[in-house]
Symmetry: D2
């Protein structure tokens, strides 16, 4: 997986247990996905211009450890399956100093302007494959 998005835990994202509220990881997941689109050279705006968009139909997460206010998090993502009209992404969020905080997957379905399921366009498929074949930059 490529590291594509980083964040620092915001105070508003913590809850009374002093940790990130579990629903907020989906915001992190979604921003990782958005940044992935930019990285592969097919950003959200191009999707809109091409007359399609993606809707989330499934997500699942395992919570491995807890993140607190101010923790620096690094998020990785990888398209693990591309079918006719959907894409599955594996996603992982870890603290910069190591331990995994949360990981899981999200499934997006391609829909056209009428909201109907549509084929994931070839240029998008090509962009994903080209990006993922390139190894991440060495540190």
């Amino acid at each position: 997986m490529h590291d594509v998005w980083e964040t620092r835990v915001r105070y508003a994202e913590t809850d009374a247990q002093g940790i990130v509220f579990y629903g907020n990881y989906l915001t992190y997941q979604d921003e990782t996905f958005t940044q992935f689109l930019r990285e592969i050279g097919y950003p959200w705006e191009e999707m809109e211009d091409a007359g399609w968009e993606m809707h989330v139909v499934h997500t699942e997460l395992d919570y491995r450890s807890q993140a607190e206010f101010g923790d620096e998090l690094v998020c990785e993502i990888r398209a693990s399956a591309i079918s006719e009209s959907s894409l599955t992404f594996d996603w992982r969020c870890r603290r910069r100093d190591g331990p995994v905080v949360a990981e899981g997957s999200v499934v997006h379905v391609a829909v056209d302007e009428t909201g109907e399921t549509t084929r994931v366009p070839q240029p998008f498929r090509d962009a994903v494959v080209a990006y993922q074949e390139t190894p991440p930059d060495p540190v």
Copy 2:
């Protein structure tokens, strides 16, 4: 002011201090405003149908006390000024058992479909006045 919206503090709304994060009161304020529109008989949908909407241009809040997870809150609102193209609402949020938690105001500006400032439509003004002239229901 009329009591128009009630809520119970959600876990996701608390922060690591164990109290409602201060920004979340604007969500409460906005829902009180939305419910006010329903109460006066001029809901959001009717606004859209009539080709205008309201944009927030100013807000201010004083935080009087703190609310915790599970607290039951009651929110009051009142249009305190209607000018050519804007409305000022006074807003107050208190615990059901008494003390004020937060209070302040919010200013909305009427805009037409092109985003230009427009006159607040007469039917809306009439609905606000009629509602506010009616005393709240006795308990």
Copy 3:
């Protein structure tokens, strides 16, 4: 499943697609869980007094349809499995007028005051079983 929590979609919960942001359903799920604790007569406060709490370790959701601003949602929950130290809850969110919006599950693990995994206390187990054996109120 019992209907235990209702809400109306808030403006702050919608996103630029005009629908509830997919992460916000976990806030609904968590509030349904909280209300479930109240319904079974073993609320959050009692858990704290007894020296244990629950941490989310897994969640998954299928998104079946979309909810918009102002939609009235009804959420159901049911403990589907109780093991030594964890509980799995099935959860479903539907519009009041019918269609399912999102459904899935969440797994909580019982931890003691030191953060170590602990046995789910017997009084809690009993409260869950007693509640779930009682059929929901007829409409």
Copy 4:
């Protein structure tokens, strides 16, 4: 004012009008404040160690323009008044390419471990003054 915090508008922060929900600017404001504490060399953790913290008692914002998904925002902050037990901060959020999106102020009160109002400690005052006397780095 110093530029101290930057962000990119998240999808979860937009609403059905396609712009950042007005309450979310307080999350930006709070993170700007947090980063300010780090910049002056007196971070949140040091505050806790010294046995005091700050509570928000007032905030106000003027919304000058609108920010959309993906917009890059730069936030500035400046302590404009320090009294016995409170601090007022001026805050401004603008798009990287120029226009101001929102600006206003927030007032924090110093409280000790019992929650009582306390004097803002001298080391903190000194850190603020030293930082603000240093002109921002030239671009």
